[in-house]
Symmetry: C2
Subunit: 698 residues, 2 copies
């Protein structure tokens, strides 16, 4: 599929009333005023034209090639309009008309889709704010036309898209293309990303979404896209109220925000929270060369703002490193003695054009990027400083961001910076934040690799009923996931034999398909010390499951003093299987210190998950403990993340606790929840196996 006809049509028909003030007329006016030169036609029942654009009663009547229709006729007419379009060879229709699913008219939207499918016509919308190809002046939207530039804006919300466009000039950002896809009856974010990845006029895409049509397809589309170009994403609905509103607003189901966040990160997108951050980041991405490291130099003529920028730079993960002795020497050769040779480099209020140029040129040999900060007193002219900054940026080819403050004292400097493509930001804090995000983009791009393959082989879980603990443990082992040694024992004698075999002390747990929370019913005995106690415990556990289909006990060696982690699998309604890693217990339940990914994951992703949790130092040997075997842990995470694909019946799995030491990794308990319908995406299922609110070892 190709959206070429959307952005570069041979002929365009606007379907709607030609009377002044009506939507058809206004759209025509927008396109004509923007200087669009291609063939343009108006279509309405009266065959009326406007603004030198000829009118026709139908698209078929036009007689010239028309491959794009912009539809603004009343909702009930839209299916017929599409049929007419299709007959006349239209390939893409942008349906601006509202009154479909967003107001509960589901049938109307289904009818539209049905016609589109039948006649093989691509539809953008309905209920959208239109689109533009800015370079051509094909401005098929009521929104304000921004300057031409290299950012494409794709917005699920027409109003938000409009606000961004209206703000563009003030923010100093130009746009190449814009699409608002409204109800997403057909064309959505996935198609548009695929197209824009290839579009030579687009360097960066800014995407606003509230939900996606298909999580997996979205993940793949973003991942493909970010290999080539940066993608800045605003995803609304982070909180409770926002999600509530997003649901009522789009009528589509949103996955939980944490899952979106994981997906966007895995796919290499740069998520931002506000429209302001989006503008800042796009400005940086359009104007700066790649930021190839995190060492940043701050060159300023004022201490205070330099300090504030340095504070923020460290907060966002940049390194405000000190200069080498060689660099200090080089700087001291030309800088006056009152200048600071430390980072931030303070030229003081005496800073000059030469000072900025030469200092920046020198530091950029050692640093990856620089912030040029200029606080211009009203009695000085800051334009020469701006020239010095631009000279250095051009001479070194390194990324330089600017913050020239403030108001009318820098009126002459800002045009210099803009003209010469050194992005200026309202504060140094915002400028360094952009550098950090650009560094992040380069890091992710350098690590880009194909998404892990989803296993094609499909297997069946053992049995039909809930998995018993020994079955589930065996199943993990079959799949390469190490567990504690264990024995199943159906009788007291077998239990004693098992315990002797494993070596005392042992842990004994009841096995019953009807007991989920064994600790709660006294179904777990820790620290069983000898034969006599083992026999006694067996009888006690038998009593616990007296009327609950007692099958026997499972016996483990007693584990003490090892670090415990948890691994989890579940299915997200949008993205399908997701995998979770954390330290379990209060780290997960109270501190919410977990890492989440869309499954399956590869080895590198598993390593990132492990490093991502705040409590990571606990695994690397803090407080005199030896480092845990993180190699094996990463392998286990990878294998674990493949289970829901190999076993479509799996709805959820908890491995909790998983013991980890310098010597290896061992699952200590498991709970598997089976889908009611094998392979179904929903997570409704029977609970099987067991779950321990208390940990196994003391």
């Amino acid at each position: 599929m190709d959206l070429h006809s959307l952005f570069n049509p041979t002929g365009v028909a606007i379907i709607g009333s030609a009377s002044e003030g009506k939507l058809g007329y206004v759209l025509t006016h927008q396109i004509v005023s923007a200087g669009y030169q291609g063939p343009l036609f108006l279509v309405n029942p009266k065959g009326k034209g406007a603004l030198s654009v000829p009118g026709y009663r139908s698209v078929a009547e036009i007689g010239a090639e028309v491959d794009l229709a912009v539809v603004a006729s009343p909702a009930p007419t839209v299916p017929d309009v599409l049929e007419d379009c299709s007959r006349a060879g239209v390939k893409v229709a942008v349906v601006i008309t509202a009154g479909f699913s967003e107001v509960g008219n589901i049938e109307g939207e289904e009818a539209l889709k049905e016609v589109a499918r039948r006649y093989d016509i691509r539809v953008v919308g309905p209920n959208c704010a239109g689109f533009f190809n800015n370079r051509l002046g094909l401005h098929a939207t009521l929104e304000i036309r921004p300057p031409v530039g290299e950012v494409a804006l794709v917005s699920q919300s027409g109003a938000l898209g409009g606000a961004v466009l209206a703000w563009a000039e003030e923010q100093g950002l130009g746009f190449s293309k814009f699409v608002s896809y409204g109800n997403r009856a057909d064309v959505g974010e996935v198609d548009l990303l695929a197209y824009l990845a290839e579009d030579p006029e687009t360097k960066v895409v800014a995407l606003y979404i509230e939900s996606v049509a298909d999580g997996r397809a979205f993940l793949k589309a973003v991942h493909d896209f970010t290999r080539r170009k940066p993608l800045v994403v605003i995803k609304a609905g982070r909180g409770q109220a926002g999600r509530r509103a997003a649901l009522s607003h789009t009528g589509s189901m949103a996955g939980t925000d944490a899952v979106y966040d994981a997906a966007l990160r895995q796919a290499g997108a740069l998520r931002v929270e506000t429209v302001e951050e989006m503008f800042d980041l796009c400005k940086g991405l359009v104007h700066l060369p790649p930021v190839k490291g995190r060492r940043v130099a701050i060159v300023t003529n004022s201490g205070g703002p330099g300090v504030l920028a340095a504070d923020r730079a460290e907060t966002v993960g940049l390194e405000v490193a000190e200069p080498s002795d060689a660099l200090k020497e080089r700087l001291s050769a030309f800088l006056p003695p009152y200048c600071s040779l430390r980072n931030p480099f303070d030229l003081t209020v005496e800073g000059t054009e030469d000072g900025y140029r030469e200092t920046l040129k020198a530091v950029l040999e050692e640093y990856d990027a620089a912030l040029a900060l200029d606080v211009c007193p009203p009695y000085l002219d800051s334009a020469p400083h701006a020239r010095g900054v631009c000279d250095a940026a051009e001479a070194t080819g390194k990324p330089v961001v600017a913050n020239f403050m403030a108001g009318r004292t820098v009126e002459k400097a800002l045009p210099v910076l803009r003209e010469r493509s050194v992005p200026d930001f309202p504060t140094g804090e915002r400028a360094v934040t952009v550098l950090a995000r650009l560094a992040e983009y380069e890091e992710r791009k350098a690590r880009w690799r194909p998404l892990p393959e989803v296993p094609r082989e499909q297997r069946r879980l053992p049995g039909e009923e809930p998995l018993l603990e020994p079955e589930a443990m065996a199943w993990l082992r079959e799949n390469g996931i190490p567990t504690l040694d264990f024995r199943f024992a159906a009788t007291g004698e077998e239990a004693v034999e098992a315990a002797r075999d494993l070596g005392y002390p042992v842990v004994m747990k009841v096995v019953s398909p009807h007991i989920l929370h064994k600790s709660d019913v006294g179904g777990v005995a820790l620290n069983v010390a000898d034969d006599q106690q083992a026999l006694k415990v067996f009888v006690a556990l038998q009593r616990v499951a007296a009327d609950l289909d007692f099958r026997g006990v499972v016996v483990y060696p007693m584990v003490r003093g090892m670090q415990e982690v948890i691994l989890g699998l579940s299915r997200d309604p949008q993205f399908g299987p997701v995998v979770l890693f954390g330290l379990g217990g209060i780290y997960t339940e109270v501190l919410h210190d977990v890492a989440l990914r869309i499954a399956p994951i590869d080895r590198l992703e598993a390593e990132e998950m492990i490093r991502e949790i705040r409590a990571y130092p606990l695994l690397t040997g803090v407080r005199g403990r030896p480092a845990c075997d993180l190699e094996t842990l990463a392998d286990v995470l990878v294998r674990f993340s493949r289970l829901p694909f190999l076993y479509p019946e799996v709805a959820e799995v908890d491995l909790n606790p998983v013991f980890i030491s310098a010597g290896g990794v061992w699952v200590g308990d498991v709970r598997v929840i089976r889908n009611k319908v094998a392979g179904s995406k929903g997570a409704q299922g029977q609970e099987a196996g067991n779950r321990e609110p208390k940990k196994q070892g003391g």
Copy 2:
């Protein structure tokens, strides 16, 4: 002391050259251009005047009353100038002249201070950017004159102050007064806050600091100030590089940022990180009525931006609560059926002046504050919407913030909002952040109470040498801090008796003035089970301290399964004694999950500290555990925080672990570090007592 003569002088002398372009001339020009009407004189060796301002050779020569001097003569002349000023009755001198301690001229600054002291003249500066009283046009600074308003700006950095002033008009904020105090030879933040708290022209103070002269005096000044007016603070030097620069920039010592953060919070200040946040917050504080709760309604004409604002509102601690049924009913009586009756309230693009007015009036009966969000398409006029919003704000008297987007589509709306004092912000996210900070200010103000009294009584620690563990434990008990039961035993027999007395199993630790880290040298035995083992352990511990002045052992009951916390005391170079609370172990060392306060604290502050840590739920009975005795814990924290005042010899104290359960609080181990010089502020001292890297109980 009164800074009345600074801001409202009877006569003003400018000391400096009257030649065009020179500092004295430019300052005169600034004041004359600003329309200052009071008596003004120029003083320089030639007695030359300028711009209709008469010239004199000395202040004494003027012959009229002069109580303020603005000094811009060369650094070496300043002491003589001050002497002349003082003889002529000048009360305050603003020394703009640079070239003192900031360039290493310590003697010059001392000479200046000495003259000022001798002649009882108050000095602002030297090396400052001047000051203004905006209403009078007394603009004694080279910086840009902002609109007149109700914010006073006090800035340690002249350049940053200048940048704020230059940006003010664009940001829509007016200023009443400005002072840059440069090297703070005399007048500083404490004096200025005291004056501005009483200044009827100032509603809000914005303060930029890199360091303070005296932490305790600052804490008190801010605390006194915030009882009456809000204080917005930017404190630079949060990170490593920033602090490095702040040090070199001001030549003064900065306390650690976490201590500043605690002090500002305790004193009720609103800390912000950027100049943009400062503007936003000041705008809100100047224009809005008090925000008396956290329930916020978002009224919008566009879904997407409403969702983004709702997301942020929740992130910053506001409640985007759903409306009551009664409110829904009321709204449905006048809103068209396609409007959302949930929060965010979406009027859709059909939203009208009436819609905004009536919806806001209705929701503000139920909510504490509202955000009015308007995304104006280019074909509509947003000014009527702005009028509706302003009408509702005036009718209800409740806080309403606005976000009208964007660019030229809202050119007509913004003046309406500004005129009628409804603050507009560039994004809804920034607008709701302001509401949250204002709610925080009101909450703190409602809880305002005098700072806890510092104990006057001073006692001596036992002995002269490092405190032994049993001594330190006894000392804690004397001071009302409960400890585990313990016995000191000098012989094996005594040890057995002690253990029997306490009940087996017990913990035994070596007592020696030379062993600090007992666990490291095998000086701790856990789980001692019976008499025989106790005797054996005693001998072993004796061997551990064989050449280390072995005194005996201390015996405790063995504690198992209790929650552990830590309490700490240390002395900050700026603020003196600070108290720390955390969960100990990895929570403190790895997760840095601690609460910090300037000591002493009162009961309410202690309760806040306890609630502040992320792991707080662990203390309230998560995962089936009973809630801990937080009442006693708070009492202990209060008593603990008083120790460094009662015992000036105390440099540092660690209580780690402190055991806590539903039944009480017991210190399990203690380390006291004594100051070398009793009562000295520095923390250099001998280490005493003991410290356990490993916890006592299993």
